[in-house]
Symmetry: D2
Subunit: 158 residues, 4 copies
């Protein structure tokens, strides 16, 4: 007998929402493609925040930050795929799946869904560097914790 | 005897929130000024949504919209003032005060606060037009209702 | 006898151009309003560049910049007026008129024209501050020179 | 004997320029990653324009456009790689290499260089659709001509 699948037990820091705004559209009447990359980065920031990591421990340019973080996380690659048109007013689910690639790098895959159906996907890959020398280094501890917890979160939701 | 003023009883569609994201900053380490105008427009959209007005009844480019709305609401004027620096990660309160100017025009004043202190203000003025002829016309009914309710909301919070 | 008015003799650092791009539009089929503020700031940067002022002497975040400039120029006020719709593909003339307001502040008025007809206007007001203390200070010398030359340029074009 | 390689004989509609603006940076002091995707799309628009194709024959939302084009070209995939930091004020060369993938699809690869050295690369893939039915169709004739000419341009520059 067919039963309705229960909603996945993903932790809330991996299941976000986003409403598409009028300014995200273009004259073709749908979301302008590069907004999706902005949404991916903001979803990542939102996820860190919900997990309990303060912006000031990861990003430069935060309030009362005596020094910028000693590790920067520049984007080295990003991509996005668009499978269905996304319209202004759409209330999207934003599912993110982070993955550590090596001790100094991770990526975040983001799926945008409308009522459970994928409309777009994105991916952002970061590396850890020393912002002064721009040499590669290990990921910040806070990011490591979030990556580990996210990974468990994804498993526990199977 | 000095007493603590109670929090204002503003309806929730006039009291919004916004977290400043990393991509909103520039190399001076603070919010890049024109983001505030984007925030003002998005706050207006958010307010309509919370009040119960569907995006598709006001904006073109929405899902399942057989026809675009018969009235467009272009911006004819906008402005913003910046009184204190705004940083990435700041969790802002966004207070909006709409006002009908005449039967075919309204404006929305937006105050951005951090812990009750103003950091920036914005204003967007719209006129109603027929999108085909671009002639001025009366505001859409839904906007009229929201303006009226917002006005009462502001009074009741005194 | 009617004669054709000669083109104004404005120096080229006050007469710029801008082509409206597809991503500048929204689902109403015209330029999305807040892009105009971005254009105003970029026109100012372009003007400085054409006049011969290096970005690194004014803005932080430039290449081979051992230290950020000792004076920052945050925006304290901006505004824009929209008189006619602006469409994707429009090839706009961008006329800028800078003005010193006092020793520590200036504003730049920008007119966007299509074939000599105003379609939008913008204004950005900056103050000079010490970026560490955020105390007001005098404008950088380079900006002072550009303001003076621009002022002469505007007079000579009468 | 070492000789200086002559500048490539690329047609000018494939060799563009772009100056990085202050608003393109973030608080890490370098270009914010998703701006690169915007630049890729704008470089494509610029290329069409230089080749002699009017925006109104390709994009909706143009002036004096009685009807929107009968073929839309949504982005189905985009990506970017960042190999070196890009700073405000950088004067980038923008080299674009378009390729037809099949009768109804093409992609544009974009290389951003500073003094001949790659700093970032981008790619945008478009498909042709009927904007009403959203069914796939053949590319517009103007795009076909530009793709063919660009292809010859790339060969002639070897």
């Amino acid at each position: 007998m067919a039963t309705r699948r229960p909603a996945p037990a993903q932790p809330d820091w991996l299941c976000l929402e986003r409403v598409v705004r009028f300014g995200d559209t273009d004259a073709a009447g749908v979301m302008h493609f590069h907004q999706a990359l902005r949404w991916c980065h903001e979803a990542w920031e939102n996820s860190l925040e919900r997990y309990g990591i303060e912006a000031s421990s990861v990003f430069p340019g935060c309030r009362d930050q005596k020094n910028a973080p000693t590790i920067a996380l520049p984007v080295v690659h990003c991509e996005a795929d668009f499978s269905r048109p996304v319209f202004g007013g759409d209330q999207l689910q934003v599912l993110i799946a982070p993955e550590r690639l090596n001790p100094g790098s991770f990526e975040v895959r983001t799926r945008f869904q409308l009522e459970g159906v994928d409309v777009a996907r994105g991916l952002i890959r970061h590396v850890a560097i020393n912002p002064s020398t721009r040499q590669r280094c290990a990921l910040p501890e806070a990011i490591d914790r979030w990556l580990e917890a996210s990974c468990l979160g994804q498993i526990s939701s199977l």
